[in-house]
Symmetry: C2
Subunit: 579 residues, 2 copies
């Protein structure tokens, strides 16, 4: 076979095998060295190709698609710094357990470390931040090499999908000329054998579950804590288990449990507020905590668990070690849904433990928080309080890090609409947010709302090009407090010297321009009625940005005031309850 035949047969086998393994989406950045793989992907009828010039945004876009579809997205770039731009999204994918298949084109071996243009050391480029790395062979159409490339393709998918899911990296050396024979692609189909990889599921011995069920019977106060989790049928399974145990579920906004049908009122969703109160924490001290998913967003909840004497059990189907408090007594490496079902089977209804006080305090807190609705000025707290009302049913809400995700946790509660909530909560970065949201939006095909702060928006304005090019409608609610609002809540705010320079960091830019550049519509929100009417306008839209200007100092004061008021009301309730 000649060079072009080797190139084509090898890569076509690779791409076909990706497709056979269910891969449907590739995000490609333009480049020369990646030409053969890019062309063959574009040529494949079952591969959706998205092209993105900025590789950093491209990788976050791919991350968003993978997040929403729960299957790997493929990334393709040329050699050099292009590949380095994927790094932030890869780091995020690793920690947040999102499957990605990163394909970097490379110079062939003889052109490495000899000063050839656009040649960097790409072997193990991403170090520990990927789950699996393979330096691939140069293209070769020998039968055993086609078998090899198909096996690597299958292994890449299986490895990315094996719990804990995550990014894998294949580095692909190509020699010139780089054009495959894609005009006669049918010639290169080969029906030879392939390997089917069946990913297993972690389970634990029935004896452990039985023993746990028995121990739980004797406990009067138990709670379940759910952070962000991606496990099929988990919502139903955890509700069943909670009902059986009579344990309330403290549901993080990213657990998706604040948007499900909860007939038995098991979901507690205002703990971020009431667990700031010492008396409440005392009254609600549990004997056992069973925790699932990532660490929850809420700092009061984390502190509450840290101060607790309870038996703490963590269930992790990805076999990690999510325990910054170092208080976990039992770390259970078992598929979470499986665990819930098994335990529910063995558990006996604990009638003493009905979680009534949790429900009452949750209800009381919600009532107390309803005061937020009365704030007349534009306010960050009220925005999140109103979100459930503002957003349509069956929509996607993507939330920026730093303050927005925390405010969401505090002020956005269980409601009847089906609103899927997403964030980049692996490494909690403010980078790549616009792109990740658009990736989710492109995959979900539901109305997409992105709520984020000005620095976060700034960091990934380039991501907007995908909204324009792939016609992904997006409504951006921009909370513009001209700088890093979260720092006002941190100890450095007590030290005004250098504060604005290093932490406040106002950008003083007017974002209307960037929205216009992408052909979007910009609206400066005047008041709450204006925002409501903007959100209600059901027009077909492309990019819309609603800018809400707030003030960092006033926001701090407002948050403190709300917390003080609510805390007092809960305190009254507790006193009355004890009487």
């Amino acid at each position: 076979m000649n060079h072009q035949e080797n190139l084509t047969a090898y890569l076509q086998s690779f791409v076909n095998e990706l497709v056979r393994n269910g891969i449907k989406n590739a995000v490609i950045s333009p480049g020369s060295r990646s030409t053969p793989i890019a062309l063959l992907m574009a040529e494949h009828s079952q591969m959706n190709v998205h092209v993105h010039v900025d590789e950093r945004s491209a990788a976050f876009f791919a991350l968003g698609m993978a997040k929403a579809l729960k299957e790997p997205t493929v990334l393709v770039c040329t050699s050099g710094t292009a590949a380095a731009n994927y790094f932030p999204a890869i780091v995020e994918a690793k920690i947040s357990r999102i499957p990605l298949i990163v394909l970097t084109a490379d110079r062939p071996h003889e052109l490495r470390d000899v000063g050839a243009p656009q040649a960097i050391d790409q072997v193990n480029l991403y170090g520990n931040q990927v789950k699996w790395f393979m330096e691939m062979s140069p293209p070769d159409a020998a039968p055993e090499m086609l078998r090899y490339v198909k096996t690597v393709s299958s292994r890449a998918v299986a490895s990315a999908m094996k719990e804990p899911k995550g990014p894998v990296h294949l580095n692909m050396p190509f020699r010139e000329p780089l054009i495959p024979d894609f005009d006669h692609i049918e010639k290169y189909e080969n029906e030879s054998r392939h390997v089917e990889i069946i990913n297993g599921t972690l389970t634990v011995a029935d004896e452990y579950i039985k023993g746990l069920a028995q121990r739980l019977e004797g406990m009067r106060k138990g709670i379940i804590v759910c952070g962000e989790i991606d496990n099929e049928n988990f919502s139903a399974a955890i509700l069943d288990l909670a009902k059986e145990l009579n344990f309330p579920i403290l549901a993080d906004p990213l657990s998706q449990l604040r948007s499900i049908d909860d007939p038995d009122n098991l979901i507690v969703d205002t703990y971020d507020v009431f667990l700031r109160n010492d008396a409440v924490k005392q009254a609600l001290a549990p004997e056992v905590i069973i925790r699932f998913g990532s660490m929850p967003v809420s700092k009061p909840l984390t502190l509450y668990m840290k101060q607790s004497e309870a038996l703490q059990i963590v269930v992790d189907g990805g076999a990690g070690f999510r325990d910054p408090n170092q208080l976990t007594a039992e770390m259970v490496y078992c598929d979470e849904t499986l665990f819930c079902r098994k335990l529910a089977e063995y558990a006996k209804k604990n009638k003493h433990n009905d979680g009534k006080l949790w429900k009452d305090i949750n209800e009381k807190t919600k009532q107390a928080l309803s005061q937020v609705a009365n704030i007349s000025e534009l306010s960050e707290a009220k925005l999140f309080h109103l979100l459930a009302e503002l957003l349509p049913d069956n929509s996607v809400l993507f939330v920026g890090n730093s303050m927005p995700i925390r405010d969401l946790d505090t002020f956005f509660h269980k409601q009847r609409k089906n609103i899927s909530i997403y964030a980049n909560r692996g490494a909690n970065g403010i980078d790549g947010t616009v792109s990740t949201a658009l990736g989710v939006g492109a995959a979900k095909q539901q109305p997409l709302y992105l709520v984020l702060g000005d620095l976060t928006f700034f960091h990934d304005m380039n991501g907007l090009i995908a909204a324009k090019q792939y016609n992904v409608p997006i409504t951006i609610i921009l909370i513009n407090n001209n700088g890093g609002g979260i720092f006002s809540f941190l100890p450095q705010a007590q030290h005004p010297k250098h504060f604005e320079l290093l932490f406040g960091t106002p950008l003083d830019i007017h974002f209307e321009h960037i929205i216009r550049m992408y052909g979007g519509k910009y609206h400066a929100v005047e008041d709450w009625d204006h925002l409501k009417s903007l959100c209600a306008s059901g027009e077909e839209f492309g990019i819309r940005l609603f800018e809400i200007k707030t003030n960092r100092d006033e926001n701090l004061k407002e948050h403190r005031q709300i917390m003080t008021n609510v805390s007092q009301e809960i305190q009254h309730f507790l006193r009355d309850d004890k009487k």
Copy 2:
């Protein structure tokens, strides 16, 4: 000592030692975990602190400063994906041998790999892309620990500056609380011992140089090739050597040799054009090639060297292996200036080898290229031909990768103005260009001109914030051919299927908006007179963007036409010359 005293004494010793080692500039991105080091740097009277929200742009800005100042810039960021955003600039710094000191704040050891927020694995985060990595001790004010931290500080500077220069990475774990005692900083000055590290210089035995001088005497045709190089006094030393040997110097635009005084007319600067002609290549076949610096930009020159039977000698004070052609017979690890001076000392004037034909063809080519001045429409070729006229004396010209640097090589020749030329020519990426240019501009304090294409500009529009915040004046000449113009010159252009999707990649955006967002001035260039008058307007300026719209297909045709015409003229000249 208490926690705050340990933190302050340790970090203050570190920062003081950086300053003692001559470090003057830090680029800091806002974050919480990096609070102590950021505050102490801001507090230090001899440290210039630049704050940049987007860490990717921040790192390229730092790279630009280091490029211009020839000394390390410090980068400081918080834990998490912030650090991953530095990666593209670090990769570029490694290959292009630019010194950087990267300081990443990290969670302390007990909060790693346990699901703590914003905690990623930062140990060896950048893998082989940095020269030196140290995982640092938690802050500690014991005398031996202060000595340790000062030593690491000195070693970081020395390691970054040791040839080949490059980036180093220190990962710094900090426990809360994170506020140093910067109000009583004088308390923490300590005058204890420190280590002075004296970086050596590579030299080779006199016998080798003497032998080489003897061998060169017998050779009739020799040339010197200079790529990008950063070595003190190199320009003078290479001119002396070339004069002694009677060798012409083929000077890459990044060698800075196209802007020096060249009384003996030794610099050849149109080789990128005339070395496309086979007859010329034959006529100019050398017996020896002595090469310095990076591989030159010019592909015709690279090919010419690849096809040459000459003895090829590469001199590299950084002891790398810049030889993609695999034809180097002698790889000399010696400081380049030292090598030139020693060889010039031993060399005897070779009267047979006056490089006259090189000079004549260079002159003829320049004449032939002057036809470019007659192009009336806006054209990429003519822009670079005109640049020397358009730019003021003592200015900085930063050039984008892909087509602009190639066009510069082809059309921008030796001239009398002092114009320093910069590009990111390590990995040849299109990323970070705006930021790197601004970093150079901030350091050089000379009028800054950035010439780049639309995709390159798009990739780093965020970099513009530095121009606004640090008041770095910049004139951007944007060549907007709405997509990736270079691909029209590559083989994939012959395959129209998928071409626009994967390679043409038009963005279809109007860049006026982004310039307005940063308070800059936008001008759509109408014709050459308009551009000349814009450039001539000597007003005090902030950000100015002159947009030149071109067409990719016509640009391809124009380039081909120019090359055909020039080639014919040179051919005639050669024929006449032989008669």
